[in-house]
């Protein structure tokens, strides 16, 4: 993910051999091939998420919910090309609030750029753009079944511009202030703070702001199609290899390390979830297993670059344990985070970003010590991680609240009670997701 490692070559001046930029940076076809694959894999997570969420809502809201993910692919991709990439990966402007580089507008300046890792910048920007798609799509789980389609579209567009882009710049751009926090930076390999904490916390704020679904918690709101949820979770797991291993922006040792710990944490998370559930409720549910997969994957996301297999195992188990009880706590407190966007992504992201500190591989700590000019302890890094997490939580929560407040004044965000009863599919899309299935 670290663009700082990959300085760009200058603009190509003359017709040169196909594989060379004009300063002689050669395309590394191995790295490029893996990054192209990763880009596609991360995109695959979005329909995966659509299926995961779509299966969890009631039959009358399935298309509306899936459209939340799919429209993100449209809106965020277009915004990314117009200004998202410039805001995330341009040099600091406005005191480092976000970045800006007018050459990145409409990606006009990178037509022939090859980055120093041997990967064309087009591939890097498309890979990064996928993260900007999935992050707002994740939020939709928190207010599923009770938001107007138009309001949602405008919300995620503004959220992407004002929350995602600045956070992405702070954490991943080479002059972002969290990138440079402490001696070797706040660790967020593939998006624990940028993607999961920001989406989870924003989801929680939105769920609280919009209020519970009509009839919650007395009415039965059980999932319409857990089979689809399982397929979606499977796609998410597969796609996550692009998400984590692709975040090395190369195809080498660090890629292999990230890929390995991703698999371990997901499996450990899934397994421990059904064990906890089995002990606590007597049955191991399918939804529990897939929730555990997600909890493990979310927790390993920030950590994939620095922890080793043993640490990944602990992170996966810890994430499931904490997320499981976070969801129970949610039910006690009675707020309606419909599909547990905060319970899994917010909480799991926080667990991963903090707990990873205790499992950092030695070589990284030595690097940090060298950069600090002598020593760098676990506690010092822990402090850096806590600060980064708190900043992500605070910024995402406050900006989301402001956005929701303004949007609610300009247009109503919630459907009328009548429309909520009719369901999003009928009211906003004029279609139906299922044929003659149960009438819930």
């Amino acid at each position: 993910m670290k663009k700082g490692l990959l300085l760009m070559s200058v603009f190509m001046l003359s017709a040169s051999p196909v594989l060379l930029g004009n300063d002689g940076v050669e395309i590394d076809s191995g790295a490029t091939a893996w990054m192209l694959t990763s880009t596609a894999l991360v995109l695959l997570m979005v329909p995966g998420l659509a299926m995961f969420y779509g299966g969890l809502v009631r039959t009358k809201n399935v298309l509306g919910t899936m459209m939340h993910s799919f429209t993100a692919m449209g809106i965020m991709s277009v915004l990314w090309v117009i200004c998202g990439y410039a805001m995330c990966f341009g040099p600091n402007v406005l005191g480092g609030w976000f970045g800006w580089n007018s050459e990145y507008v409409l990606l006009s300046g990178i037509d022939t750029t090859i980055m120093s890792g041997g990967v064309p910048e087009y591939v890097f920007t498309m890979f990064q753009g996928k993260f900007a798609i999935i992050t707002p799509a994740l939020i939709a789980g928190a207010f599923a079944e009770r938001i107007q389609f138009k309001g949602y579209c405008i919300f995620i567009a503004l959220w992407g511009l004002l929350v995602y882009n600045p956070l992405c710049h702070w954490v991943w751009a080479e002059d972002g202030f969290l990138f440079n926090l402490g001696s070797n930076g706040a660790i967020d390999f593939a998006g624990g703070t940028v993607v999961h904490i920001s989406a989870g916390v924003s989801g929680l704020v939105a769920a609280l702001y919009l209020g519970a679904r009509r009839g919650y918690p007395s009415d039965d709101m059980s999932p319409s199609n857990l089979v689809m949820t399982m397929i979606g979770a499977g796609l998410l797991w597969v796609g996550w290899f692009g998400f984590n291993a692709g975040s090395s922006i190369t195809s080498g040792l660090s890629t292999a390390q990230a890929l390995t710990v991703t698999q371990i944490a997901a499996a450990a998370g899934a397994l421990s979830w059904i064990v906890i559930e089995g002990i606590h409720q007597g049955k191991a549910t399918a939804l529990g297993f897939v929730s555990g997969i997600l909890a493990g994957l979310v927790a390993i996301t920030p950590a994939a670059g620095v922890v080793q297999p043993g640490g990944a195992l602990v992170l996966g188990i810890a994430a499931s344990l904490v997320c499981y009880y976070a969801i129970i706590l949610k039910n006690r407190m009675g707020y309606d985070d419909s599909l547990d966007a905060f319970g899994i992504h917010g909480v799991g992201g926080i667990v991963g970003a903090i707990l990873l500190t205790f499992f950092i591989r030695k070589s990284w700590m030595e690097e940090a010590a060298a950069a600090a000019g002598g020593s760098w302890s676990v506690m010092q890094q822990l402090w850096v991680q806590v600060v980064a997490v708190l900043i992500a939580i605070g910024y995402a929560a406050i900006m989301t609240l402001i956005l929701l407040w303004i949007l609610d004044k300009v247009m109503t965000l919630r459907p009328t009670p009548q429309n909520e009863m009719k369901g999003l599919d009928n009211v906003y899309h004029g279609e139906r997701g299922y044929g003659m299935l149960n009438p819930n």
């Binding site: 009548q418 009863m421 369901g423 009928n426 139906r432 003659m436 299935l437 009438p439």
Partner: protein, 113 residues
């Protein structure tokens, strides 16, 4: 005893169900059905207006004792009407119910309803 069968719009299901619950009528059977009525339903499919052959509807079946017939029927009518009454709001059929048996206890008649 009467069997009340109501055919209503899909979109009114929650409204009717909640109204019935509110009126203390909680023993209902709901199924998805489709059929022909007076209503001509237009749908847009790929930008073209189409008129589907069968319109999806919800069928509710409620067995009640005679005293409850009016409450039930009025509740359904009130909750199933859209915009003060539009073609397609549905129909209610009331039929005589000969017998009713609760499987668990084998009670018969009014107390089993």
């Amino acid at each position: 005893m009467k069997l009340i069968t109501a055919i209503i719009r899909e979109s009114q299901l929650d409204q009717v169900r909640e109204a019935l619950m509110h009126a203390d009528i909680s023993r209902i059977t709901v199924s998805r059905v489709s059929g022909h009525g007076q209503q001509v339903r237009e749908e847009i499919y790929r930008g073209r207006i189409i008129i589907p052959n069968l319109t999806p509807k919800i069928k509710m079946e409620i067995a009640v004792n005679d005293d409850y017939v009016d409450t039930t029927v009025n509740t359904i009518i009130e909750a199933a009407k859209t915009n003060g009454g539009t073609v397609g709001d549905g129909k209610i059929f009331i039929t005589k119910l000969e017998e009713c048996i609760r499987i668990r206890t084998e009670e018969r008649g009014g107390s089993a309803v």
